[in-house]
Amino acid sequence: MVNVHVNGKEQTFDGDPSMPLLWYLRDELGLTGTKFGCGVALCGACTVHLNGEAIRSCGIAMSDVAGKSVVTIEGLDPKGEHPVQVAWRNISVPQCGYCQAGQIMQAAALLAHSPAPTDKQIDDAMFGNICRCGCYQRIHTAVRAASKGA
């Protein structure tokens, strides 16, 4: 039995404790904003916040999230108006959009820790999030726009 807070709500899971958080969020809770991209923590599409840190939900088992707090893209801001989300829209970042929830969660965690990151810090933080459409320049611009250094 695993108890976990997801987007502020307590949830109980009694299935296979080795199941990655990703599949619990998607298949059990229907929180499909968290995307499946690679399954082995190489692409960042499944990025969520675990106790405030950006993590790859495909790479962490349910047993390891017990008692912890998970925030997904659906829970980032009640109105979808987190500064990163607003910047993403102002800059018109997405193409297909599939990786963008992961990108946004990664950027939000970066800015929570480093409100005014350097270009190098943005590069380092966003390195793990692949965008096959190639929206990187706009992602970079949007992270900068959402930062205190903007």
Partner: protein, 768 residues
């Protein structure tokens, strides 16, 4: 605003077909539904749209519905994979002609149904090119229906009323009625005949050409609400993964699922039959594991014990295949185009320059791996999936299951990337077969990244050899180019063993150079894997080889690469290649008189990008500039890349400039995003992209061994320079044409920076 009858003469081509159509709108919405003529209209200019399956439909009743509240709902009938054309640009064209307030426009996705909506094959950079005219007619027709309804209501002549931003105004009195007030009356009217349509003057456009409309899914994408094929959830949904034969045309010899059935959550194991070649988009076959969660299905698949019969491709090996392709281009091949006498010209040339280029298989690696969900109720099948060709997929699924296509509904979700992979709907057929095996219970087939990398339809592998003969004045007098690549036609017919007209038409037989002796030949290449179109298709290899070679000659002659490229393109002219090519001339499916090869336009983008990039600008040590120009998908693009290569051979791209002439442009904001993305995709394939096979098996599996460009290595700045054209210049492709010139411009820049010439892709460690 005033509307004037468009000067172009629009005539009614075919009113013989009459059909009753259902609307698409929801509750409380008056659907413009009536009997109407199904129109295959004559347009201001002809395009290949008419020859596509099911052509175009221009009836407003099909595409537009208006609610009492004034909300205008526009149907997007093509698939949205990220370029914004299907769900934003095309509805925006309708809204503009309708003079609708974009804030009160909603977009709904049509199901797969080409009989109703016209061609839905979202591929070949065709959406705006084929549908700008039909969507203008849809919008104008709907607008005139609203005007007619208002005139009737007021009892005035229709000439006295005008639609103006979501209202119809009686000009003499200033009376107004909102679109919502008129919707019911308008819906009862027949669609206006095409020859009565009054299209807007371009100066009156609100959205077309402005770049002021954001993509319709922007909010949902940024809040996690956007639904892709992988995301479909249904009550009682089960999840499936499939163990597919590791070698194409391989089969299951035997299998043991006893351990699988012990995995908690596993419900059923189902064998899927493969299809002998030519298999088109039929599933590869294999063993499916159906479970209560994706995780249980994955664990169940791991526990399968399968003995494979690898079949005829069991010994296929990329290393020896590369050698065969290279052999094939070192000897005379199949003649594809011949002008003058190349042998004689090479024989008497003062100097002959030769180079060979090799580019490997690539996987699309869309961020969303393929997925499809299906359920069956009372003999009716429903599918939700992310496919580029929803109509074609529906029909093929119906055929495989022996159902009437009327009993198959295909809901097209957003596509998490397409790039050509999702034109092939094998995953949709898998889902349909599995729901059938589960007596109709809903099943979602999930492809993992490994499934995607190892069971794709790969970008073809190509060997190229080019020889140029120069006279004593260093003019190029002979050009012999041989190209060998397995053909994607082997999916559809017995392996032709040579590239076919479509593949040859992509930057090979349409070579636009001003050289008196040209001989183009293809080499034999058998197919051993599933080859499929990948963004820009054969243009990628052809443009890379040709444009690299041009820079190689320029270097040997000590000429400026840009000046030499322009000299080779020659004076502005229409290339009369159709008579000179021995293969059937294929111009992206377009009528050649409308979309000819115009070297003036190729020159113009080359000159424009050189000017905008400040070609020849002073650069820091270790930096270099490269240029390339290429026509593809009937658009003209030239790119200048600046690279920096450090002492360890690390490559970075500080700046890219691209000039594009895509005819009359509709959505410059999305054109820029496509060009930015094309640079990243070009950089990925140049730096890293390579799928290899050994013992018939793909050796790569995920982003660890099939890397793509990441955030920190992206070009820092991409400047897009869009050529202004009037609406009389036919719109042309945008999604694909940005890729082909990028790679040679990059490699030419690397040469400028380092003196190293890349003749084999990917670059990998060649700069170290």
């Amino acid at each position: 605003m005033t509307y004037q009858r468009n000067q172009q003469n629009v005539t009614l081509a075919n009113v013989s077909r009459r059909r009753l159509l259902k609307g698409v709108a929801g509750t409380g919405v008056f659907v413009l539904a009536a009997q109407f003529p199904a129109v295959r209209s004559a347009m201001a200019y002809a395009t290949g749209a008419e020859k596509m399956p099911h052509g175009v439909v221009t009836n407003p009743h099909i595409f537009v519905s208006i609610g009492k509240d004034g909300i205008v709902t526009i149907v997007a009938h093509r698939a949205e994979m990220g370029n914004g054309a299907a769900r934003t640009s095309l509805p925006m064209i309708v809204a503009d002609e309708l003079d609708a307030d974009w804030a009160r426009v909603r977009v709904v996705q049509s199901p797969g149904d080409e009989e109703t909506y016209g061609n839905q094959d979202t591929d070949g950079s065709r959406s705006v090119r084929h549908f700008i005219q039909p969507m203008r007619q849809v919008g104008a027709g709907a607008r005139q229906m609203l005007e007619t309804a208002a005139a009737k209501r007021w009892g005035v002549n229709v000439n006295e009323v005008q639609a103006r931003l979501h209202e119809v105004v009686h000009t003499p009195s200033g009376k107004k009625l909102g679109y919502g007030d008129l919707a019911a009356d308008a819906a009862a009217l027949p669609a206006p005949a095409l020859d009565t349509l009054r299209l807007k003057q371009p100066s009156a456009f609100r959205y077309i050409g402005k770049g002021n409309v954001m993509i319709v899914d922007l909010f949902d994408i940024t809040t996690g609400k956007a639904t892709y094929g992988q995301d479909v959830m249904l009550p009682g949904l089960m999840f499936a993964v499939v163990a597919r034969p590791p070698v194409v045309q391989g089969k299951v010899a035997s299998y043991d699922a006893s351990a699988t059935m012990k995995v908690p959550g596993v419900v059923k194991v189902v064998a899927i039959d493969g299809t002998p070649p030519p298999a088109a988009f039929a599933p590869l076959g294999g063993i499916a594991v159906i479970a209560k969660s994706t995780w249980a299905a994955l664990k169940g698949r791991e526990a399968l014990k399968i003995v494979w019969d690898d079949g005829p491709n069991a010994s296929f090996d990329s290393v020896s295949y590369k050698a065969m392709l290279e052999e094939a281009v070192r000897k005379p091949g199949k003649l594809e185009r011949n002008e003058g006498d190349v042998d004689a010209a090479l024989g008497s040339a003062a100097k002959v320059i030769t180079a060979e280029y090799y580019s490997p298989h690539l996987a699309h690696a869309t961020m969303e791996p393929p997925a499809a969900t299906a359920r069956m109720t009372n003999g009716k099948l429903e599918i939700w999936t992310s496919v580029q060709s929803p109509g074609g997929a529906r029909d093929d699924v119906a055929k495989r299951l022996g159902l009437d296509a009327k009993n198959v509904t295909l809901h097209c979700t957003l596509l998490g990337g397409g790039f050509g992979r999702k034109s092939k709907w094998d995953f949709a057929i898998e889902a349909a077969l599995l729901t059938k095996a589960m007596d109709g219970a809903p099943v979602k087939v999930v492809w993992t990244r490994e499934d995607d990398i190892q069971h794709g339809f790969y970008h073809t592998v190509t060997a190229e050899r080019i020889e140029a003969g120069l006279d004593k004045d260093n003019k190029v007098v002979a050009w012999r180019h041989r190209s060998a690549a397995p053909s994607l036609f082997a999916n559809f017919m017995p392996d032709p063993k040579y590239p076919q007209f479509i593949e040859l038409g992509m930057g090979f037989v349409d070579t636009p150079f001003n050289v008196p002796n040209i001989r183009l030949e293809s080499g034999e290449a058998q197919s051993h894997v599933r080859v499929g179109w990948f963004r820009s298709v054969n243009n990628v290899a052809h443009a890379w080889a040709i444009q690299s070679f041009v820079a190689e000659i320029a270097n040997q002659l000590g000429r400026d690469p840009k000046d030499f490229l322009l000299e080779l393109i020659g004076p502005a002219r229409i290339v009369a290649a159709p008579e000179k090519a021995t293969t059937p001339w294929w111009d992206y499916g377009e009528p050649y008189d409308v979309y000819p090869v115009d070297t003036g336009r190729l020159r113009k983008v080359t000159e424009l990008v050189a000017e905008k990039a400040n070609w020849g600008r002073k650069l820091p040590p270790g930096h270099g500039l490269g240029i390339a120009a290429h026509r593809s998908f009937v658009s003209y693009i030239a790119t200048v890349v600046e690279v920096a290569v450090d002492a360890k051979g690390n490559l970075s791209v500080p700046r890219v400039d691209t000039a594009i002439d895509c005819g009359f442009y509709v959505n410059p904001e999305r054109i820029r995003s496509q060009i930015e993305g094309a640079a990243v995709m070009g950089l990925s394939l140049a730096k890293y992209g390579e799928i290899t096979l050994k013992n018939g098996r793909v050796e790569q599996s995920n982003f660890n061994d099939y890397p793509v460009v990441r955030h920190d290595e992206s070009p820092t700045v991409t400047n897009t320079h869009i050529v202004e054209n009037s609406i009389d210049v036919p719109s042309s492709g945008v999604g694909e044409p940005g890729v082909p010139p990028f790679t040679p411009a990059l490699c030419n820049a690397i040469f400028a920076a380092t003196g190293k010439r890349i003749r084999r892709l990917p670059i990998g460690g060649q700069l170290a």
